[in-house]
Amino acid sequence: MKQYLSFFRIRFVAGLQYRAAALAGIVTQFAWGFLSVLMYKAFYESNPDAFPMEFSQLVTYLWLQQAFLALFMPWLFEQDIFDSVVSGNVAYELCRPCDTYNMWFARNAATRLSNTVLRCMPILIVTAFLPAPFRMTLPAGWLNAALFLVSMILGFLVQVSISLIIYISAFYTVSAQGIKMLSITLTEFLSGAVIPIPFFPEAVQKVFNALPFASIQNTPFLIYVGYTGGAEAAIAVALQAVWLVVIIVAGRLLIGHAMKKVVVQGG
């Protein structure tokens, strides 16, 4: 356990060094956030009755999305892991006296977390004081706040475990460019990053909610804004936990199978 913690720590501290990049990122995220709010505002004004939630709830959802982007973004992969599979350097990693799955898991999680630590606070603080239509609100209640925290952690781990599957698939396809792109698209769309899941038609929502991707950002954010609450929220959190276990087991089986027949490239 200690070795994985130190992998985590090294990555985390390294990630914290990129402060200028984080600042540029924050500016970018504000711009994206404002444009999204304005876009939904236009839809809201065109047809307020069709809006599935309060407008202020949606605004809060959008700012949460921007603040915790790094935590959930499906396109965060460490390129050096893919490169090491192509170049053959992965052999050194495999020789290490620790589990490759856990090691990669710790690395991916740490990179996400350090990015988030740098970026989330300014966005959360500034947006809490913005004028009316843009302001971010507090959680819907104490219970929701508590569930939100648990749900955030679970959603974060689900996203990391999905990323891990993509890392492992590099053993099978060598160049992971294509599968990476496919996974990014699917995850983005099905997790509600393109448009929040409540904006889809009822039937489509049912399908999406049953898939693991809804467990990533959709569940915690909807709990925060109070769109889901009570028993419904508890079930959603339980579902997150189930998916987390399923995806981790799947990832472990895949890497186990890959290890048996791994061909190291290069010399």
């Binding site: 236009a42 047809n47 160049s175 294509g178 792109m181 698209t185 448009i195 038609p201």
Partner: protein
Amino acid sequence: MRLYFKFVAIIVKSQMQYKASFFMTVAGQFLVSFSAFFGVYFMFDRFNEVNGFSFAEVLICFSAVLLAFSLAECFFRGFDTFPKLIRSGSLDRILLRPRSVILQVLTSTIEFSRVGRFLQAVIMLCIAVPTCGVVWTFGKVMTLLTMVIGGMAVYSALFILYAGISFFTIEGLEFMNVLTDGTREYGKYPLSIYGKGVLSFFTYVIPVALFQYYPFMYLIGRSDNVWYAFLPLICIVFILPCYAFFAFGLSRYKSTGS
């Protein structure tokens, strides 16, 4: 020009070495844009219209922007990797060769995998053209064409500007993404829905609205002002200051070594 095609042929050959990955990337690109399409589709499924624009009308706007972006990206994305060229010192090698820098950067990478995005724009256009209710006279077809050409010019100029800035910052600037990827993403809707402030920013500072909003208004018959159809041509002029900035950066360039 002949040299350019020779470079292109070599790049095609090299990318075809990883066939499976190439086609997966194309498929991925295709789906990436389709997720944006479905995003728009489901929004209209719920709301029917936005600021009076119908789904088919927005689709015209969306596909024109996407078409322009994908064409510009296919040929000018070489400038996207420009910060890397500077940091690694490869630019010095380019400067030593007796050919224009622009030509060499243009041909350093050509992303044919971006063809997925292009295909998708064409498909959307095929859906939108017959359903949007525009009577396709010669003038309207030309308007659509100038929108795409003007858009290509703006995005190419932005890619060049991005490269120019990286002479001074060495690192790429993430903020530039708002202008390129951002206007592609949010440009799927006519820019007026974001309000006056955003519209005038993209009219007078970065001329995105000149090829998107104004000619689009003429195209769908919201405006009778024929001059709106010619506005995209002004966008071509936007390349000049961007290129000038790039040239200025180049003249001040001191190698980064290694």
